[in-house]
């Protein structure tokens, strides 16, 4: 695709693409995922109640995306397809987050190196095990880099500051209300405060029998934030 007469070094090309993707992602609002006593909670700053950033992929797996909506939604649907098809052809228990995260990494890495425009998204694949040791949180960057997170993570704009706040507040075995409050405070920072309408929250709940994904409605989030 290079224009005749110009030479751009591979290092420069990668650097430019990465800068472009990071700028796009930084413009959007962030998302936090963290473990709590009953599973994993995902909280995103999202003023829309119909264009979701957090969704169900499979029985014990959730998806989170930040950045360009159409791009991460395309990835979300690919994940649902992969999971449903794998569960149908093999068995429901053969569907796992690690395999999904690797597939996502392949696609995003491929697009980053081979397409004109990299994806301006960061995504998250979370899975709850049958006991807390089986919980998994994978964070996948715009270039296909996969990070295996242990207890909590943050995606999207203002990432460093939000992660810093989570480092200070997260402790093991918090209850659901405490973690939602913590996530909201981490997303807002000290200068702002967020209301339920600004947030989208969902959990993977270990006590649910098969489909563990559940959204927390605005009413419940309001009750938590005002407590």
């Amino acid at each position: 695709m290079g224009m005749p007469g110009f030479y751009v070094s591979p290092e420069q090309l990668i650097q430019d693409k990465a800068d472009f993707a990071r700028k796009g992602i930084a413009r959007g609002r962030a998302l936090v995922a963290a473990r709590y006593s009953g599973g994993i909670v995902l909280v995103a700053e999202n003023a829309s109640s119909t264009l979701r950033k957090v969704s169900e992929i499979y029985d014990r797996i959730a998806f989170g995306g930040v950045g360009r909506y159409n791009e991460f939604d395309q990835l979300r649907i690919a994940g649902v397809r992969h999971a449903d098809q794998k569960g149908f052809v093999y068995s429901r228990e053969d569907v796992d987050a690690r395999s999904l995260a690797n597939q996502y990494a392949q696609i995003m890495g491929q697009i980053f190196t081979h397409e004109m425009k990299p994806m301006e998204v960061e995504i998250l694949v979370a899975e709850i095990g049958h006991d807390p040791e089986g919980d998994r949180i994978f964070h996948i960057l715009y270039d296909g880099t996969v990070v295996d997170e242990s207890d909590y993570t943050s995606l999207g704009g203002d990432n460093d500051a939000i992660l810093g706040r989570l480092d200070e507040t997260w402790v093991p075995d918090l209850d659901l209300a405490a973690v939602v409050k913590m996530a909201s405070d981490a997303l807002s920072g000290p200068e702002r405060s967020l209301e339920a309408a600004d947030l989208e929250a969902a959990i993977l709940d270990r006590s649910n029998s098969r489909r563990c994904f559940r959204r927390i409605d605005d009413e419940a989030v309001t009750a938590i934030l005002s407590a």
């Binding site: 992929i57 397809r81 449903d84 597939q103």
Partner: protein, 261 residues
């Protein structure tokens, strides 16, 4: 297995069966020759005050043989609907499995559930695409029932072998014993029955079907095998415990024996 990733103009949408076809896992059913598979069963659904009761016997036959005593023919399709099957067991169970995944797949891809009528139409398409296999002796004829959360009522759908879909008002049935069962339900049906009355009516219908049709299994207290009975209401699909079905049968037995004495 690689992740299916489609360009926008080339996308199969929320349809799981089309996705399987596109990725080379097609479930098409063209077969040479004719297999004489048993079509035994009685399954039925009855509308009552809170929703729908579905019930089915547990017997699978192969000619004169009883090939299975504990097969299940009533399944949850999703949270607010159920499907019961009659016909060739293998293709029928496979159809239910695809149907269940299809409803959940649509819900996840689209972010909302299909309407109850949309679900019935999906099942209709699956029965229709099974027609070549049906011509060769492997027919599957399900009934579909659910609680319509948008309208707040229980609804029932019956099908024919070509995928024809017929909404019934009060009750639906399928299988070799369905004629006997539906007569019992027709005579005993009353508007606004409670759960206990509807379960009792469904079990009486199954008992009479088993009494007349050798391919329908009756209650088997010696082995502790009872029909599968499920209630679908605003709270969702709930299968009754075997012990509850056993005690409902005990009171039916008491009524029947006092009548014959």
């Amino acid at each position: 297995m690689s992740m299916p990733f489609f360009t926008p103009g080339n996308d199969p949408g929320p349809d799981f069966v089309r996705l399987l076809e596109r990725t080379g896992h097609s479930v098409s059913s063209e077969l040479p020759g004719h297999i004489d598979a048993g079509h035994a069963t009685t399954v039925l659904a009855v509308r009552y005050g809170e929703g729908v009761i579905m019930a089915g016997d547990r017997r699978a036959t192969s000619g004169n043989f009883i090939s299975h005593r504990t097969i299940e023919k009533v399944f949850a399709a999703d949270r607010h609907s159920g499907v019961a099957i009659a016909g060739a067991a293998g293709p029928a169970v496979e159809m239910v499995k695809i149907f269940q995944v299809q409803l959940e797949h649509y819900e996840k891809v689209e972010g909302q559930q299909l309407s109850l009528e949309g679900k019935a139409n999906q099942l209709s398409g699956m029965v229709r695409s099974n027609l070549p296999a049906a011509m060769q002796g492997l027919a599957v004829i399900p009934i579909f029932a659910g609680y319509d959360v948008r309208r707040g009522i229980g609804r029932l759908f019956q099908f024919d072998v070509t995928g024809g879909r017929y909404e019934e008002r009060d009750h639906a049935s399928s299988g070799s014993g369905s004629l006997h069962a539906s007569t019992v339900v027709k005579l005993g049906f009353r508007e606004g029955m409670d759960a206990e009355e509807a379960v009792s009516l469904a079990l009486q219908a199954l008992w009479h079907a088993a009494d007349e049709d050798s391919a329908t299994g009756g209650p088997d207290p010696i082995r502790g095998i009872y029909p599968v009975v499920a209630a679908i209401t605003a709270d969702g699909f709930a299968r009754l415990e075997d012990s509850a079905v056993a005690s409902a049968f005990a009171s039916i037995t008491a009524d029947l024996t006092s009548e014959t004495n």
